[in-house]
C-alpha cells in the first residue's frame, strides 16, 4: 500500500503543498482538501509544482472546490475530483495517511 498525503492549506499562503511534494514518492496519492484545493487550479503561480509530478496521483475534494466558487475553474490536468465517500475509499486503499497540517 502506498501513502496517502493530505494538504489542507492554500499554497499561496503556506508551504505545506511544497513540503508534501518534497517527500511524496512516485506512486503515492495526494489529496487536496479545505483551502488546499486552491492548489488544484490551473494557470496559477502554484500550478507547476503539481503539473510536473505526473507519477503522483492527485485528488481534490469536490465539495471544497464548490464552496470556494471553483467548480467552473479549470484544474491542473490529471487531478481527479472526489466526494466524501471517495475520501473514505482513498483512506481505505492507502496506508499510512500523512496530513501536512
Amino acid at each position: 500500500m502506498s501513502i496517502l498525503h493530505t494538504v489542507n492549506k492554500s499554497p499561496f499562503e503556506r508551504n505545506t503543498l511544497m513540503d508534501c511534494l518534497a517527500r511524496a514518492k512516485d506512486g503515492a496519492a495526494v489529496l487536496l482538501i479545505e483551502d488546499g484545493v486552491y492548489g488544484a487550479l490551473a494557470g496559477t503561480q502554484a500550478s507547476d509544482a503539481i503539473a510536473k509530478r505526473g507519477a503522483i496521483k492527485f485528488y481534490a475534494l469536490g465539495p471544497d472546490l464548490d464552496a470556494r466558487g471553483l467548480a467552473e475553474k479549470p484544474l491542473i490536468d490529471g487531478i481527479t475530483l472526489i466526494d466524501y465517500s471517495g475520501f473514505v475509499d482513498l483512506a481505505e486503499a492507502h496506508n499510512p495517511v500523512q496530513s501536512w497540517l
Binding site: 499561496f12 483551502d35 487550479l41 496559477t44 471544497d64 464552496a67 470556494r68 466558487g69 467548480a71 475553474k73
Partner: protein, 130 residues
C-alpha cells in the same frame, strides 16, 4: 449631542482601511472582517476595503457551500454598497498569481497594483488587517 432626534454619528471621521488577506472558509478571519467593516461603515467612517493575497478568494463568485455545511457569506459583500462602502479594491498581483480576473468576482472592484496599494495605505488613519 445637540439634537436628541439625530441618530447620525457626529464624532470625528477617520480614514479606515480594511486589508483582507485570508481565504474565506479555512479560517474565521474573512467573515469577522466583513462584519467589522459593516459596523465601521454604520458609524459613518471613511472606509476602504482591500482584498489582497488569498483575500481575493473571498469575493470569488459562484460559491456554493451546501456540501461543506458552512454558511455562504459571499452574497453579503454586495451589502457593502448599501452601507456606502464604495472604495473597494482588489490587488492586481494577487488576482494574477491566482489565475483570477475581475470577471471572477461577485462585486465590482477597482483593481490596483501593489505599488498603488502602498500609496493608499500611506493615506489612512487606521489600517485593520484580517
Amino acid at each position: 449631542m445637540d439634537d436628541f432626534e439625530d441618530d447620525e454619528f457626529d464624532g470625528p471621521v477617520k480614514k479606515f482601511l480594511f486589508l483582507n488577506r485570508k481565504a474565506p472558509y479555512g479560517t474565521i478571519y474573512a467573515l469577522e472582517g466583513l462584519e467589522v467593516v459593516l459596523i465601521t461603515a454604520a458609524f459613518d467612517q471613511d472606509v476602504s476595503m482591500v482584498f489582497a493575497d488569498d483575500g481575493v478568494f473571498q469575493i470569488k463568485k459562484d460559491q456554493e457551500t451546501s456540501g461543506i455545511n458552512m454558511k455562504n457569506f459571499s452574497p453579503t459583500y454586495r451589502a457593502l454598497e448599501g452601507y456606502e462602502v464604495e472604495k473597494v479594491y482588489a490587488e492586481k498581483e494577487s488576482l494574477e498569481a491566482r489565475g483570477l480576473s475581475e470577471d471572477d468576482l461577485v462585486i465590482p472592484v477597482e483593481v490596483l497594483s501593489a505599488a498603488e496599494l502602498a500609496e493608499l495605505m500611506d493615506t489612512q488613519d487606521v489600517i485593520v488587517s484580517f
